[in-house]
C-alpha cells in the first residue's frame, strides 16, 4: 500500500528522519530508562573523584571489614563498610564504574572498527575476498572465546590496553556478519549503482555511500557487545586474570569479598548488583535503539 508523503498544507517537506527518530525515542519507555540509567553510571564514573567520600586505594587497617550502615556497628562514615584492607567500599564501587565502562566501551569500539571493516570488504567485493572473510569469521566462531581470552591474558598480562585488545578480539565477528549481510543487500540497490555511474571510487562507495547506511545497525550491535564486554571483564577480574589489585574492578571486588561472604554478604552483592544494573541498562538501551532506528521506509 502506498501513501503520499505527508507534507504540510504549505507544501513544505515534513519531519526529517532525524526528527521522527527523536519523536520515537521520546515515546519509547525502554530506551528512556536504559539511557537514563546508563547515563547515571557514566556520570558516576566521570564524577568519581568528586562524589566518592574516600580515595579507593586508601587503606586503614584499623577499620578493616567494618559493617555497612544497616548492620550493628555500622555508620554513615562508611555506608557500605570497608573491605579486608580497610578501604571504603562505596568509594571502590564508584571508581569501579570507571574501569568497567572504559574497558567495555573501548573493547566494543575497537572490535566495531575491525569487524565493520572486514564485513564491508567481504560484503561488497564478494568472490574470493568474501571467501577469505568468511573463512576468518568461521575460524573465530569455532574458537572458545573465553578460554582463548584466558590464555592470552596469561601470556600477555593484563594492562588496560592489553585487556581492551584481547576483549575486542572476542566480539568483532558479530559486527562482521551483520555488516556483511547488510552490505550485500545494499550493494545491489540503485543508489549504489548510481554512485558508480557517477564516477565514485570504490573507497568512496564503501565509506560514504554504504557505511552511513549501516551505522544504525552497527550502533545497536555496539551497545549490546559493550554490555557483554563489561561482564567478561568482570569475569576475568574475578578469576584474577583481569585488572590487577589494588584497582577497584567490580569483578575483583567480588573475588576478594568471597571469603567474607557469610558475615559480610554485601561485599559480594553490592558489586554484583552494580554489574547487573549497568549491563541490563545497556541492553535495554540497545534494544530500544534498535526499535527506534527502524529503517525509514515510508513508501
Amino acid at each position: 500500500m502506498t501513501m503520499t508523503n505527508p507534507s504540510d498544507r504549505a507544501g513544505n517537506p515534513t519531519l526529517s528522519p532525524r526528527q521522527l527518530m527523536v519523536m520515537r525515542a521520546v515515546g519509547h519507555k525502554g530506551f528512556i530508562i536504559g539511557a537514563v540509567v546508563t547515563a547515571l553510571y557514566v556520570l558516576m564514573a566521570v564524577a568519581a573523584p568528586l562524589i566518592a567520600p574516600f580515595d579507593p586505594l586508601d587503606q586503614n587497617l584499623l577499620a578493616k571489614l567494618a559493617p555497612p550502615v544497616w548492620q550493628d556497628g555500622g555508620s554513615w562514615q562508611h555506608p557500605l563498610g570497608t573491605d579486608s584492607l580497610g578501604r571504603d567500599y562505596l568509594s571502590r564501587l564508584i571508581f569501579g564504574a570507571r574501569i568497567s565502562i572504559m574497558i567495555g566501551f573501548f573493547a566494543a569500539l575497537v572490535s566495531a572498527i575491525v569487524g565493520t571493516s572486514i564485513g564491508l570488504l567481504g560484503g561488497y567485493f564478494g568472490g574470493r575476498v568474501d571467501a577469505l572473510v568468511m573463512y576468518i569469521v568461521n575460524v573465530k566462531l569455532a574458537m572458545p572465546g573465553l578460554l582463548v581470552a584466558l590464555a592470552l591474558v596469561s601470556a600477555f598480562g593484563s594492562s588496560f590496553v592489553t585487556l581492551v585488545i584481547i576483549l575486542s578480539l572476542l566480539f568483532w565477528d558479530r559486527y562482521a556478519i551483520v555488516v556483511r549481510t547488510l552490505t550485500q543487500q545494499f550493494r545491489n540497490q540503485d543508489f549504489v549503482l548510481a554512485a558508480r555511474a557517477a564516477g565514485a571510487s570504490t573507497t568512496r562507495i564503501l565509506f560514504r555511500e554504504l557505511l552511513p547506511n549501516l551505522m544504525n545497525a552497527v550502533i545497536v550491535v555496539l551497545t549490546l557487545e559493550m554490555a557483554l564486554a563489561i561482564v567478561i571483564e568482570a569475569a576475568l577480574s574475578f578469576l584474577g586474570l583481569g585488572v590487577r589489585p589494588p584497582n577497584p574492578s567490580w569483578g575483583l571486588m567480588i573475588s576478594e569479598g568471597r571469603q567474607y561472604m557469610f558475615f559480610r554478604p554485601h561485599l559480594v552483592i553490592a558489586p554484583g548488583i552494580a554489574i547487573l544494573g549497568l549491563v541490563i541498562a545497556i541492553n535495554v538501551l540497545g534494544d530500544g535503539f534498535r526499535d527506534i532506528a527502524a529503517p525509514e521506509d515510508r513508501r
Partner: protein, 335 residues
C-alpha cells in the same frame, strides 16, 4: 441472487508516529451480481485500503469506523473476527498485486488450491482437485495436471498470478476483489491475464471489484467506474458515461491526461499534488487544483445524484461539464 458487495459510510483512520490521519472518509461502494466495477484513483486515493477494509485485512495502525459492509447479503459489521474468517475465501476472495509473496512457498499449487476448497466446502479431495484443474485450465495455465504438483517458485510471475486468480475462484465466491492484480506483470501478460479474468467473471456471474490506476484497463474491463480522490468517492457512473461525459473536474482531468496515441506533443497532467493527509480535512480536497474553485468550495461539497451517476461537487452537471479541464501540459509539480 443477493448483491455481492454493499459498503456504506466507510471511514478509516491511520495512527502514525506523526499523528492521526483520516485516510478514507464516508465511502459508499457496491458491486452487483455479474458486474465488473473498477475502483479508480491514484496513490493516496485510499482505493486499496477501502478494499482491504471490506475484507478486514487492515494493517494494525488502521481503524475502520463503524460502517456497513454487506457481503453476499450478510451484514458483517457486528460479526466477530472468527465468524468473518469463515467468509474470507468462501464468499469473498482477493487477488493481490504481488504474485511473489502471495503463495505459500512450501506447499504445491495443488495443495494450496485444494486447501482453499476443502476448508470452506464439504467435498472430497477428488472433487477439489477436479475443480482446481478445471480452473487452472480456464485461467490459461496449460498442462494443469502437472502444474498441480509444482511449487510456486517453479512458476513465472505471470503464471503465479494466474494461479492466484484460480485460487480466488475455487470456492465460487460471490465477490472477487482484484487489487491491481496485473500491475506487476509484463504488459503483454497483463493484457492476457485481464482477458482471462474478465471471461471468467462473466462466465461465473460473480461480482468483480477491480482496483486500478490505469484508465486503459478500466475502459476495457469496467461496467461501472467509481473514482476516488484523497479518500473520498468523487464520481461514479457507467464506463461509457465516465469516459465520454465525465462530470467531476478530477475525473475530467484524469480522462484528459490518459495518454492516447500521438507522435508528438507533451503529456498532460493535473498540476499540483494530492493533498497531504490530515486529521480533520475541511472542504473539497480538490480545490487547490481545480480551475473552477470558488468560495463555497471551502465547505463540504454535497454528493449529487442523477439516476446512476453520482458526483461530489458544488457544481451541477451542466456547469461542471462546461467548466475548463484541470489537465495542463505542465512541468511544475507545485508552485
Amino acid at each position: 441472487m443477493s448483491q455481492p458487495l454493499s459498503m456504506s459510510g466507510v471511514s478509516i483512520d491511520l495512527k502514525l508516529t506523526a499523528g492521526r490521519f483520516a485516510v478514507v472518509r464516508d465511502v459508499d461502494l457496491s458491486v452487483g451480481a455479474g458486474e465488473i466495477v473498477c475502483l479508480v484513483g491514484e496513490s493516496g486515493s485510499g482505493k486499496t485500503i477501502t478494499a482491504l477494509a471490506a475484507m478486514r485485512l487492515l494493517p494494525r495502525v488502521a481503524r475502520m469506523r463503524s460502517a456497513s459492509v454487506v457481503i453476499d447479503g450478510t451484514e458483517t459489521r457486528d460479526m466477530s473476527d472468527k465468524a468473518f474468517g469463515a467468509l474470507l475465501g468462501d464468499r469473498v476472495s482477493i487477488v493481490f498485486q504481488n504474485p511473489m509473496s502471495s503463495l505459500n512457498p512450501v506447499l504445491t499449487i495443488g495443495e494450496q488450491l485444494c486447501e482453499a476448497y476443502l476448508t470452506h466446502k464439504r467435498g472430497s479431495r477428488a472433487e477439489a482437485e477436479a475443480r482446481a484443474i478445471d480452473l487452472l485450465e480456464r485461467v490459461g495455465v496449460s498442462a494443469a495436471a502437472d502444474r498441480m504438483r509444482q511449487y510456486p517458485h517453479q512458476l513465472s510471475g505471470g503464471l503465479r498470478q494466474r494461479v492466484m486468480i484460480a485460487l480466488a475462484f475455487m470456492c465460487e465466491p460471490a465477490l472477487v476483489i482484484g487489487d491491481e492484480p496485473t500491475t506487476a506483470l509484463d504488459v503483454t501478460m497483463q493484457a492476457q491475464t485481464l482477458r482471462l479474468l474478465k471471461d471468467l467473471a462473466r462466465d461465473t456471474g460473480i461480482g468483480l471489484l477491480l482496483i486500478t490506476h490505469d484508465l486503459g484497463v478500466v475502459s476495457r474491463m469496467a461496467d461501472r467506474v467509481v473514482v476516488m480522490y484523497a479518500g473520498r468517492v468523487v464520481e461514479e457512473g457507467t464506463c461509457d458515461e465516465i469516459f465520454a461525459h465525465p462530470i467531476h473536474p478530477y475525473t475530467r482531468g484524469l480522462v484528459d491526461c490518459a495518454p492516447a496515441h500521438a507522435t508528438s506533443g507533451g503529456f498532460l497532467s493535473i498540476p499540483g499534488e494530492v493533498p497531504a493527509l490530515s486529521a480533520n480535512p475541511v472542504g473539497c480536497d480538490f480545490r487547490n487544483r481545480c480551475p473552477s474553485a470558488r468560495a463555497d468550495c471551502h465547505r463540504e461539497p454535497p454528493m449529487r445524484q442523477e439516476s446512476t451517476r453520482r458526483w461530489r461537487c458544488v457544481m451541477d452537471r451542466e456547469t461542471a461539464q462546461a467548466a475548463p479541464t484541470p489537465a495542463r501540459a505542465a512541468l511544475e509539480a507545485e508552485g
